[in-house]
Amino acid sequence: MSVLQKLMETVVQFMPDKAPDPLIHKHGYLGTPVSRVDGQRKVKGEARFTAEFEIENLAYAVPVCSTIAKGRIISIDAYDAERSPGVIAIVTAENAPKMKRPPLMDVRHMDKGFAASDLAVLQDDKISWDGQPVAVVVAETLEQAEHAASLVRVEYDEKAARVSFEDLKAEATVPSAVMGEDPELEIGNAQKAFAAAAFKVDNLYRTPHYNHNAIEPHAAIAAWDEDGRLTVFDSTQFVNGCKHALAGMFGLDGDDVRVIAPFVGGGFGGKAALWNHTALCAAAAKVANRPVKMALSREDVFRLIGGRTPSEQRVALGADKEGKFAAIIHTGVTATTTHAKFPEQFSLTPRHLYASRTMSVGQKVVNLDTVANTWMRAPGESIGTFALESAIDELAYAMKIDPVELRRLNEPERDPTKGTEFSSRHLVEAYRRGAEKFGWSGRPAEPCSQRDGKWLIGQGVATAYYPVFRFPAAVRLRIAADGSALVQAAANEMGMGTATVQIQHAADRLGLPLEMVSFRYGDSDLPDSPIIAGGSSQTGSIAAAVQVAVEKAHRELVKLAGNGSPLAGANVEIEARDGGLFLSGEGNKGETYASILKRAGRDFIEVEETSGMPFEVMKYSMASYGAQFCKARVNRESGEVRISRWLGSFDCGRILNPKTAVSQLRGGIVMGIGMALAEETLLDTRRGRIMNPSLAEYHVPVHLDVPHIEIIYNDIPDEHTPLGAHGVGEIGITGAAAAIANAIFHATGKRIRDLPITLGKLL
């Protein structure tokens, strides 16, 4: 951590808190299960996703991907491809426009945008991973482009590739930083404390490569106008980031690039950064001199878009006789590439969860010649909680203590490593409510003690954890003379309910009925700010900006209302209700927005505001928490695992919309079930090639794998966050795999520390 950063963290401790937002405790649309505003359009098939935009004169592009992981291209023979029907252009390093290398993510410079890999491909003959695009074929139809792409022959000079995590993990080194934090942290002498502890466990946990597999494969449409301006439809979680990164690559001004993404069919982090296909689509459009669409096939997604790194983690826990942690040691290795530089932050998890007398955490990273790894739902916490929460379960058995009780015993009073106050942490309450609802106390303590015919039954529990992030956001707000309001932000809707919740919010804050508020988003022409659908930050980030924008609009409206208005010179508080501004506690003394604007002869007023820096996140220890309870059935004969019950009890601040929030939490848990039991990207280490690039062979959970998932939540607002809320997008997957592994142990007495827990491991 830099000196400046340290200084900042100290200074922030002395900064006063922002006055709590009165809306936190007000009952309105927020907190009610409003259905998604785009739900009907989606169900009717009317919502347009990136690949569905109809553009005149559109041509279709298909990438040709490398089949070696490292080396050089000797030659590309496109003779047959060029002559294939419908082919317009074949773009290779020979004729591709110059593209600069895009930046990677830096949390301090989110506004500049970033790419997942800092390689701009098709610029030279170098091959850095199996799947790297080496050519792009543009044709009149998709089928023609696909066929011509199959005719391109590439000759390579192949070099030995470094692709096996297993073989190379010993070479891992300490990265310079992990998400801006020091990669290693020591409190006291953990080794000594561990050695002397009354109870201890010390094991290795492994997680494989995973891929996101959002239902919508990545797609882009790019078009250049006569003035050299670029418009791109892109399935992105970050329109502004995509815009800035693209502008940088093509040497354009940010204002000369427009990125549009009204609907995104899931992303899970896989669409947060700019990936090569979008830049290649723009390059192809330039070469073909026509608008071009590049909609990746499922296989292309596996080859061009990376997923989650594999990991090996050691967790050693020592506890004293009373069950208090004497030492938490959590170390390990993940993989990245020289062009991604992303050591997935599993070692940040143990820093904030439990009190311990000593601690030693840290992580190393090894570079592989693979597609860039990237953020995948709760990067770090999902795999970090698997290891840590499995280990805690192991310790609980070793101590013959209830695993819920062991966690309660080690609940910290302040952040265990930063020493900061928790802004709102009610994990113990989430455990209490969850255990009660799940009937945890009725569970026999001994493993292997429940059976139903051939099925062994067990219950497991684990903590869910995901930190709070907020980014400065800009919004534009228009209030019109018809009394309606329009909120505009360059936000991103992947199906989480972003638009719905912001409409609920603006309606409450403006005192308008829902139907009078609309939300425009998914367009980089809207005010520029780093609003990203990532880090579970988007709702809070926009909300903070909407709050200041509404406050500004209200000030202007009062001014506009002038002296003739009952609002003039009022010495009581003014509140927004009934479609306008009224004096607090004085009935109908006030004026509607429509009336103010009409009197002033205005069609509308429009304000733009930006929320401030997220000092609260530095001042306090802030996170979402939860307790995952599940019941697993394991077939004694075959080792098959079925999850027959799930209850997630969460502590995520105030729940703004139970319907959309619960969907997010459930979706995360479903993904956690996949992570625990079935998902795995098969990378053939002889060549560095992914061998199961399809949904038939990459096993995400099917309906039958997923029980009804019950969700309860504390709903305790955090006074220090926008609307009192914490993020809910990612926490669902955290702790889920550990809860399953723990339930399987309880059922069978077998501890599986290697994900996924496929049935062969339980025979």
Partner: protein, 327 residues
């Protein structure tokens, strides 16, 4: 996908003619496997002869109690047929445990027999595969081979036949009816699919120019008490790691009649003749079931990722027979 010619045959004669006269032609059933493979450029026919218009879409009861199922009958139609469900429950179960509802609605009986392996290396042009390119080598042997054969594999190929339905048909001693330029013939089910040996690209006994017209299932009274059990990596919509189709008749605690076949273990649906031999007349109890399973799996060989399937197959056999014996 390469461009191709398309013709829809209205009668058998035309179909056979089109098939044998058109160079590099393939038959098209539901297309759920062939079209996938064409999109991957694994199959590259110049012409498709669509057989779904042929009058082969009926299920007929035979006077002896058996069934004749037309080649173009959809998988779903077989699975819901009352006679199938009543007399051959293992067949109905095998079908519904396969693929998804949508795929089964499209898939034809002949297409199911002729579907190709799901070996990951067979599907990837960048890999070496003797089945795709004879003599090229086999990347699965030293690669990911979780789904691969433990029985009857060769140094050339370790792929499995992925069908569930065929495992039940193997247990039922079905016959495959075909017609070709030289007329009609009938092939015993166990002779229809082949082991890989050193010609893994030749998968069945079907000769060039021949097409399947239907399946004959002989009567088998005791098959009313039969089971299909499929073990896979998720609860649905995954191919079998191991499957067992079995029919069992017990008389006075002894095995009177037994039919047993395994799926997911070999290049063909695996009729467990050795286990059947051991069980004939034996006690219908867990010890003899285990003995039979051991005998059947004695020649099994595991690889890096599929070794567990040997024990899994044995346990599944014991489990299924135990259930059928009422234990």
């Amino acid at each position: 996908m390469k461009s191709f010619a398309y013709a829809r045959a209205a009668d058998l004669e035309t179909a056979v003619q089109l098939l044998s006269k058109t160079p590099n032609a393939k038959l098209l059933g539901g297309g759920t496997n062939l079209v996938d493979l064409m999109r991957e450029n694994i199959e590259q026919p110049d012409a498709l002869v669509d057989v779904t218009g042929l009058p082969l879409d009926r299920i007929q009861e035979r006077p002896d109690g058996g069934l004749v199922i037309g080649a173009t009958v959809r998988n779903t139609a077989v699975a819901v047929h009352p006679v199938v469900r009543d007399r051959y429950p293992l067949l109905a179960q095998a079908i519904v445990f396969g693929a998804s509802g949508q795929i089964r609605n499209m898939a034809t009986v002949a297409g199911n027999l002729m579907q190709r392996t799901r070996c990951l290396y067979f599907y990837d042009h960048a890999a070496r595969c003797n089945k795709r390119a004879p003599g090229a080598g086999c990347d699965a042997i030293g690669g990911f081979n979780r789904m691969h054969a433990i029985l009857g594999a060769s140094d050339s190929c370790i792929a499995t036949h992925p069908s569930d339905m065929c495992v039940a048909l193997a247990a039922l001693n079905a016959k495959v009816k075909v017609v070709g330029p030289n007329g009609e013939r009938t092939i015993a089910f166990e002779d229809f699919h082949r082991l890989p040996e050193d010609t893994p690209h030749i998968e069945t006994d079907l000769q060039p120019g021949e097409l399947i017209t239907g399946i004959e299932i002989p009567p088998l009274g005791f098959a009313r008490r039969s089971l299909y059990r499929k073990i896979r990596d998720r609860a649905s919509y995954a191919f079998a790691l191991v499957s067992v189709a079995a029919a069992l008749e017990v008389d006075n605690g002894k095995v009177r009649n037994i039919r047993l076949a395994l799926g997911g273990v070999a290049h063909k649906p695996w009729r467990a003749t050795e286990a059947e031999r051991v069980l004939a007349g034996a006690n219908a109890g867990p010890e003899s079931f285990r003995q039979a399973a051991e005998a059947e799996l004695a020649p099994a060989r595991g690889l890096a990722h599929n070794d567990f399937k040997i024990e899994l197959a044995k346990r599944t056999i014991v489990g299924v027979l135990g259930e059928l014996a009422g234990g």
